[in-house]
């Protein structure tokens, strides 16, 4: 009994050294940042990770309307949904590939034009002039408008019979032999591109304009004293100074444009013309229109992998460029 009582005694802390228990104040200091991060982590878990995991699980299931009410009971289909999606000789895969290629072409053109127009506008607005503030506010209008309202307005303007676009191009400028169709057929690609660029370039303008604020004016003054013209200043000072801003801008624009659902959906409805069959609407159709939720999930996972790969390569390349430019 005596021994047992002695064992139960707390260990005697060696005086003047050895392991010390962390004081409560230190624990608080170390733990507090994690505690503060916790709400964000929980929300991230709920909003992104849980649905993502569910989506991945669904992609391995034969999920149609017969199982949607209790999708957990849908039979496993292994890799079938992925096989169907990437079988480019069969109709589903062929349509997905077509949609992917349309989306790549559309994204490259849209991002390129958004960047070009946004940069040109920001450079133009760099110097103070009367009315600059008003013009700057006007430039940002497309970015500030609700997407639905803006795109519906474009739908009216693209109408074949009564639309403003045909009125200007055909009736006033006589650039076309007859009024064109913009919301069906091949031209739908250009209609979509127009709306996308109109909607996207103000963001590029905003970011580039912010980047321009960080370039010291002295550089331009020195260059001007050395005889550099506007074009040389742009090439030698403005664009190199904006490179890091542009890297982020292009990545964000790329991801937004590649995944854009609202613009094509509002413009064309749930059955987009073949020429403007963007992958986001295509996957929506596979999932919610033809009710092949399993195949739609597999397509979403493939898209996610593609975007992750592109982003990874892009970030690797741009960080390597940054390192090499610092080394120089």
């Amino acid at each position: 009994m005596t021994t047992a009582v002695e064992v139960a005694k707390p260990p005697v802390r060696p005086a003047g050294g050895g392991t010390r228990r962390p004081r409560p104040g230190r624990l608080r200091r170390v733990g507090l940042p994690y505690l503060l991060l916790l709400p964000a982590l929980i929300l991230e878990l709920l909003v992104h990770l849980v649905p993502m995991v569910i989506g991945i699980v669904m992609s391995f299931k034969e999920l149609t309307q017969f199982y949607i009410r209790d999708w957990g009971t849908a039979p496993w289909s292994g890799l079938d949904n992925y096989r169907v999606s990437v079988d480019f000789d069969a109709p589903v895969g062929e349509a997905l590939l077509h949609s992917f290629l349309v989306t790549v072409g559309f994204t490259l053109l849209s991002v390129g034009l958004c960047w070009l127009i946004g940069t040109a506008a920001a450079v133009f607005m760099q110097d103070a002039f009367r009315g600059r503030g008003l013009l700057r506010a006007l430039f940002l209008v497309p970015y500030a408008l609700p997407v639905y309202a803006a795109v519906i307005t474009w739908v009216f303007m693209f109408q074949h019979d009564n639309g403003l676009v045909n009125h200007v191009l055909h009736d006033q400028l006589h650039l076309t032999d007859k009024p064109s169709f913009w919301l069906i057929g091949d031209n739908s690609f250009y209609a979509l591109l127009t709306v996308s660029v109109w909607k996207g370039w103000p963001f590029a303008f905003l970011i580039v304009m912010a980047g321009l604020q960080n370039i010291p004016r002295e550089l331009y003054e020195a260059a001007a004293l050395d005889g550099a013209g506007v074009w040389q200043q742009l090439r030698r000072i403005t664009l190199p100074s904006l490179s890091q801003v542009n890297q982020v801008l292009v990545l964000v624009l790329f991801l937004w444009t590649f995944n854009d659902f609202n613009t094509p959906y509002v413009l064309f409805g749930r059955a987009a013309p073949e020429a403007a069959d963007l992958i986001s609407v295509h996957i929506y159709q596979a999932s919610f229109v033809t009710w092949n939720f399993g195949t739609g999930s597999a397509m979403s996972v493939l898209l996610l992998l593609f975007l992750l790969a592109v982003t990874g390569v892009y970030l690797t390349l741009t960080s390597r460029n940054r390192r090499s430019s610092r080394a120089r």
Binding site: R28, L35, L38, P39, I42, L45, L46, V50, P51, I54, T64, Q65, F66, I68, R69, D70, W71, G72, T73, A90, P91, V92, A95, Q159, H160, D161, F181, L183, I184, G185, D186, G269, R270, A271, P273, E274, Q285, F288, V289, T290, W291, N292
Partner: protein, 438 residues
């Protein structure tokens, strides 16, 4: 610190609980209950000229129902563009309305989800039995051989609406009974500078309704007897080619209509731009757009030869709206009572008059209120020469894939590209390949 720790613990527990719920895979609730006997939620489809019009029509009836039964009905009018997605979402989550409207062509597809209450004999007996309903309307309530997944609420049929003044100006004495007559009349109408026939070329659902009727007139069907897609048979190809040919070959549908999808063809007709329109129960819509009832006439949709209404001469789909109950409702008795109320003789007369539709309830249909010339045409069509769209589980997918193929063919026609038997067959083959594999 204690407060923060408690909050953090609470947050973690809540997140795990929510995550567990999210992973649960939807409702497994097998049937309804009467846990909430004093309220009902009702999703109505948009039937009137606007959602506000629907609320004005429906709310007095819901108030009447509340006065009689003490059950409050919360109404939400859902636009057609959202309705199917909303129903699917509700099906997945198990958090849907108690009672809802569905397009009658969706009945079999939604029945396959298992989310709708089956109307077996016992349930039908609670609302007066199935003999109360017109047979053709009851034929669009679910797959053959199964209990109906819904009960008919409003019936509609396609008819040919024609502008009397334009016809008189063109010297046409009576509306065309065959497609050949329609094309011939079209030339006279075009000579007077008017458009001939309106269509909604980019509206997937409208496309499918029309090509279904053309296929029936060619003696073909989009599905085999055992429910497999059969979109490329000669009859179906000829039917689609004939319908799109009204624009591509016969030039009676204006090319601009290829991009119509928002009922612009109804507006064109109401404004007197177009001489004819194939539409279902358009009267209320035309009135709301300022066209007086005596400015237009209503005739049966043309057929290939002979006269419509003679057995196999199908000239319309059985169009309409059904009323369904979500299986996991918390007010099963109240929902059944509500269906009985809405399909009662009195409410059927009020509602179908407001929407210029035909009551699918036989006793209400025979009421004098539905004996106007327009309604006689629609009633005759429904009784004698209308056919239900295929009541198969893949019906919804069929509407989308074939409807989209027809939209693309109209786009070809509008662009001046030839629409040939081969191009039609190729589009339909692609549509068939997009159907879910069995």
């Amino acid at each position: 610190m204690r407060t923060i720790r408690a909050a953090a613990t609470g947050a973690v527990v809540m997140s795990l609980a929510l995550a567990a719920t999210a992973c649960g895979g939807g409702s497994t609730d097998g049937g309804g209950s009467n846990d909430s006997p004093k309220t009902l939620t009702y999703w109505a489809s948009n039937q009137g000229a606007s959602i506000e019009v629907d609320k004005k029509v429906l709310q007095p009836e819901l108030d009447k129902f509340e006065k009689r039964t003490g059950i409050k009905v919360k109404l939400e009018v859902v636009p057609w563009s959202d309705l199917l997605n909303r129903i699917l979402t509700a099906t997945t989550s198990g958090q849907g309305p108690d009672v809802l409207n569905i397009g009658n062509t969706w009945s079999a597809s939604l029945q396959a989800t298992g989310a709708l209450l089956p109307w077996n004999d016992a349930n039908l007996a609670k609302i007066g039995g199935k003999d109360r309903f017109v047979a053709s309307a009851l034929g669009s309530t679910g797959a053959q051989g199964q209990d109906p997944a819904a009960v008919p609420l409003y019936s509609m049929a396609y008819a040919l609406y024609y502008n009397k003044q334009i016809f008189a100006d063109a010297g046409i004495a009576q509306p065309p009974a065959t497609w050949a007559e329609l094309v011939a009349d079209g030339k006279k109408i075009q000579a007077k500078g008017k458009q001939v026939l309106g269509a909604e070329g980019a509206n997937v659902a409208e496309n499918i309704h029309h090509v279904f009727v053309f296929a029936e007139q060619h003696g073909a069907d989009f599905f085999t007897a055992d429910g497999k897609p059969d979109f490329t048979s000669d009859g179906v190809v000829a039917a689609v080619e004939q319908y799109v040919g009204l624009m591509a070959k016969d030039k009676v549908i204006p090319q601009g209509n290829a991009e119509y999808a928002q009922n612009q063809s109804v507006s064109d007709f109401a404004k007197g731009k177009t001489a004819m329109l194939l539409w279902q129960s358009a009267s209320a819509n035309l009135t709301s757009q300022g066209m007086s009832a005596d400015a237009y006439g209503i005739a049966p949709v043309p057929v290939r030869s002979g006269s419509p209404g003679a057995g196999a001469q199908v000239n319309s789909m059985v169009a309409g709206i059904n009323l369904a109950v979500f299986k996991n409702t918390d007010n099963l008795d109240g929902a059944t009572e509500f269906v009985k109320f809405m399909t009662g003789d009195e409410e059927q007369k009020i509602l179908n008059t407001a929407y210029s539709t035909i009551p699918p309830v036989a006793a209400a249909q025979s009421d004098a209120a539905f004996n106007s010339p327009a309604n006689v045409v629609l009633k005759d069509t429904l009784a004698k020469s209308a056919a239900a769209l295929p009541q198969v589980a893949d019906e919804s997918q069929f509407e989308t894939t074939v409807g989209t193929a027809v939209k693309e063919l109209f786009a070809d026609a509008a662009a001046g590209r030839a629409v040939t038997t081969e191009s039609v067959k190729a589009r339909l083959a692609k549509a068939q390949q997009q159907m879910p594999a069995k």
